[in-house]
């Protein structure tokens, strides 16, 4: 385990720390490291760092560790942490924000998860709605596990739970425009 030279990080990461605060609206220093978030986190068992550790990274300006952690991708946004935090720190929002920034910086440590959301929004942008079959198949095929969930395909179809074709909304100009406008404002779509 290599030791961390903290003093140099402060300088180095000033900017990205500001960016994180701006994106999330959360001051990491409010966190007093009690771990209540992580004790109640339903995904913690699968994380490489507990949510508390992510907050700690930010407090110590260890931005890269935070951005490269799988934790920020595994967070299910269930908000339990934020709602139980005794210091009223919106940890879930921090996770979201870190993920958004990580994506920009190209640290994507959970390709499949990212892919899923990527396709999801693509589907929304092109159809105005999500085409769930496309989404599931797509994320599985591109996620290099083409047969995953294949078992569900047929019965789903039989039960009329997925249509082979995407539902489109007729005039979808508007939704496209929403995406464009967000991009115009420097959105991260």
């Amino acid at each position: 385990m290599h030791s961390v030279e903290l003093s140099s990080l402060v300088e180095k990461n000033q900017v990205s720390l500001k960016e994180i605060v701006h994106e999330s609206g959360v001051e990491a220093k409010k966190c007093y490291q009690c771990g209540k978030c992580s004790g109640g986190c339903p995904v913690a068992f699968a994380m490489d760092n507990t949510p508390r550790e992510i907050m700690r990274f930010l407090q110590l300006s260890m931005v890269d560790e935070a951005l490269k952690s799988h934790t920020i991708w595994l967070c299910a946004s269930c908000q339990t942490c934020s709602e139980r935090c005794p210091q009223e720190v919106d940890i879930a929002k921090v996770m979201e924000s870190l993920r958004i920034i990580a994506k920009q910086k190209g640290f994507i440590n959970e390709k499949k998860i990212d892919l899923f959301h990527e396709l999801f929004l693509k589907s929304v942008e092109s159809n105005g709605r999500v085409h769930e079959l496309g989404l599931i198949l797509g994320s599985n095929i591109l996620g290099l596990q083409p047969l995953k969930d294949a078992g569900y395909g047929l019965p789903m179809f039989a039960k009329g739970k997925i249509s082979p074709l995407p539902h489109r909304i007729k005039d979808n100009g508007e939704v496209k425009k929403i995406f464009d406008n967000v991009r115009k404002r420097g959105g991260k779509v």
Binding site: C34, G35, S38, E88
Partner: protein, 660 residues
């Protein structure tokens, strides 16, 4: 025309080294009203003061200005001096030409001299308008009131009483003793709480100078330091204290059982009861809400069985008004209601209890006779989890502050568990371990090493029932892993919070309280037991979370203050207070709400106008309460209210002089 004498001090070279004192004295001669002006090496010295006294006589001076150091340094010195010279003590003003001049303008001698001249000029202008003031004396009632009969109040009362003053303890409950009476053992010595408390309770009750007024509450507080008129409501006991022998038969025979407050609902008491066996006074009261007789008019068993005929259903609340010289507020604390924590089950899990409930569970005279049995099935728990900071250090759902005593009593509880339950496992979830105090940290380390309590650094996130176990989930932040404990019993170290009606009492007495309704001391460091209201002092946890030794110490500290106050039959009051010119007062009442000391009230005066007697309201200042801040003077629209020694005229004269 006033005859002013100006005395310019060199203060060795402190002033003279920068300011041309001779010149200042010289120039001062020409100021209007100045008859005599001189400079000298050390004005505060014996010869210096003699010089002033002499000058007063020789030149028939009636006002004096001393240009020297800060008045905060020597004002009293020179007041005594001019008094010795035969003038009123308030006929002297000081010009601060040292701290505010020579010392801060060392390299600008000329400018400094100019400034010194200005300062003297201002002082002269003011002193001419100084009025003679007398320190008033007010009588001091040699009797103290202690509100609250917990350990802090008891200690304060005993110390005051031992100094020879009469003390009344007003306690809301039927018995004194407070929270300490419920505690089993005390840290760090583990001696039995009752064993050290009950002697004190007995001492208090048997002390010739102490009167216990139990089952009573404060209704109203009027007056001011030395002379508080306090109305006390003596709740109807329904038992005649004078004839009751405390035999206890009534309590055995009473048919209606209700949850015992003292045992925190873990056992029952009767409707006629004493809160606990060693209660003082050990004479019962009837809880009328739960008494069958008072509910239905039937029953009356207690009255029938009482040999002494002490039971008296006809009793009513009595109100008594007593005068006190000083008040000690020692109303203690309550426990935070943890049922706001949904993640801990909203208080619906029977085997999640508070620290105080645990105290009763381990107490030999408690509901389980000292055997640790969990409430749900009365089984002896094997895995016991303690959770610290429940309601403390929690901005979201509780209090922002640290409750201070929990780290120690939780450690104590842990040792008790491992002493009483062989092969038990104790897990303590904590955020920090705060054991500052004599022998405290040693105790904590014993708890870990000898008693093998597992300290887990992390705040518990969730407790839930699984079969007959409680699953406690948190993160061990030192290994950064979520952890779970299958507990049989969970004990919460709930925060110490102010009494639910703390704010109401504070308003009655007129003392300050903070956002958490804890009472505010006059100064956090230098006046920790005083309040901003003269004559009212604080002791114990009503001022902030405290453990027993601190509460006792503060009780004694408050007592010392009270004794100081009561040691004289009269006290001098600063004459620098507001006064109302009744002729000018329009009775608009603007000044009344402004006063932070409620020293201003309206009174009705009658005066003869064109031969007719007319009545009207005017403001009047209670010089006992007024602290002389002058806030009222600014709000007065008819300029009828003025602050002695800092009158509008005096201040304007100074302003005026500055620009002559």
């Amino acid at each position: 025309m006033k005859r002013v004498g100006v005395f310019v001090c060199h203060c060795g070279t402190n002033i003279a080294g920068v300011v041309d004192c001779a010149k200042v004295a010289e120039v001062a001669k020409d100021f209007p009203g100045v008859e005599y002006s001189v400079d000298y090496k050390y004005m505060c010295s014996e010869p210096g003061q003699e010089m002033i006294k002499k000058a007063i006589k020789d030149n028939r001076l009636d006002r004096v200005v001393v240009a020297s150091c800060s008045p905060r340094m020597h004002e009293t010195t020179f007041r005594k001096c001019v008094e010795g010279g035969g003038l009123n003590a308030y006929f002297v003003e000081m010009a601060n030409i040292r701290e505010h001049c020579s010392w801060v303008h060392m390299n600008e001698k000329e400018k400094a001299t100019e400034k010194a001249i200005d300062l003297v000029k201002m002082a002269v202008a003011k002193v001419i308008k100084n009025a003679p003031l007398q320190k008033a004396t007010i009588p001091v009632t040699d009797r103290a009131l202690v509100i609250g009969g917990g350990i802090a109040g008891i200690q304060a009362a005993i110390d005051i009483a031992n100094a020879g003053h009469i003390v009344d303890i007003v306690e809301r409950d039927p018995s004194i003793g407070g929270k300490m009476a419920q505690i089993d053992k005390t840290f760090p010595t583990l001696d039995c709480s009752a064993c050290i408390l009950t002697p004190k309770m007995v001492e208090a009750s048997s002390h010739p100078n102490i009167n216990l007024i139990t089952y009573s509450e404060i209704e109203k507080v009027e007056g001011f330091v030395g002379n508080f008129n306090v109305t006390i409501r003596k709740k109807a006991r329904s038992v005649n204290m004078d004839v009751c022998t405390g035999c206890g038969v009534c309590m055995e025979k009473c048919p209606s059982k209700v949850d015992s407050e003292f045992e925190l609902a873990m056992s029952k008491r009767r409707a006629i009861y004493t809160p606990f066996p060693q209660a003082i006074p050990n004479k019962p009261v009837i809880d009328r809400v739960n008494c069958t007789y008072f509910k239905t008019g039937k029953c009356g068993i207690c009255q029938k069985v009482c040999m002494a005929g002490a039971v008296d259903y006809s009793q009513e609340d009595k109100f008594v008004v007593t005068r006190y010289g000083a008040i000690v507020v020692a109303t203690g604390f309550e426990l935070f209601d943890y049922s706001v924590y949904g993640e801990y089950g909203y208080g619906k899990y029977p085997d999640v209890i508070t620290g105080l409930q645990f105290e009763r569970l381990v107490n030999a005279s408690g509901p389980t006779m000292g055997k640790i049995k969990r409430p749900s099935d009365h089984k002896e728990p094997k895995n016991v989890v303690f959770i610290k900071c429940v309601g403390s250090r929690d901005v979201a759902k509780g209090k922002s502050y640290c409750s201070k005593a929990c780290c120690m009593y939780t450690a104590k509880h842990a040792t008790l568990v491992s002493e009483k339950i062989k092969d038990s496992n104790v897990y303590i979830f904590y955020m920090d371990v705060r054991t500052a105090g004599k022998g405290y940290d040693e105790f904590y380390n014993r708890t870990r090493e000898q008693y093998e309590a597992n300290y887990i650094r992390g705040r518990v996130s969730k407790i839930y029932q699984k079969g007959d176990k409680l699953i406690v989930r948190g993160e061990d932040t030192l290994i950064s892993r979520p952890v779970e404990v299958e507990a049989d019993l969970v004990v919460l170290a709930t925060a110490m919070v102010a009494q639910p009606d703390a704010a109401k009492l504070a308003q009655k007495i007129g003392i300050g309280y903070d956002k958490d309704d804890l009472y505010t001391e006059a100064h956090p460091k230098l006046a920790p037991v005083e309040t901003h209201t003269q004559g009212v002092y604080l002791a114990g946890a009503c001022q902030g979370p405290k453990d027993i030794p601190e509460s006792v110490a503060q009780g004694s500290a408050a007592a010392a203050k009270v004794c100081g106050l009561l040691s004289k039959s009269e006290m001098l009051t600063e004459p620098i207070v507001s006064e109302v010119d009744e002729r000018a007062c329009a009775g608009c009442e603007m000044c009344v709400p402004i006063c932070p000391y409620t020293a201003i009230e309206m009174k009705t005066i009658s005066e003869r106008v064109h031969g007719k007697m007319l009545e009207r309201k005017v403001a009047s200042v209670n010089s006992g309460l007024c602290q002389g801040c002058g806030a009222c003077t600014v709000t007065c629209r008819s300029a009828a209210i003025n602050l002695k020694h800092f009158t509008d005229e005096q201040i304007l004269a100074e302003v005026n002089a500055l620009c002559l």
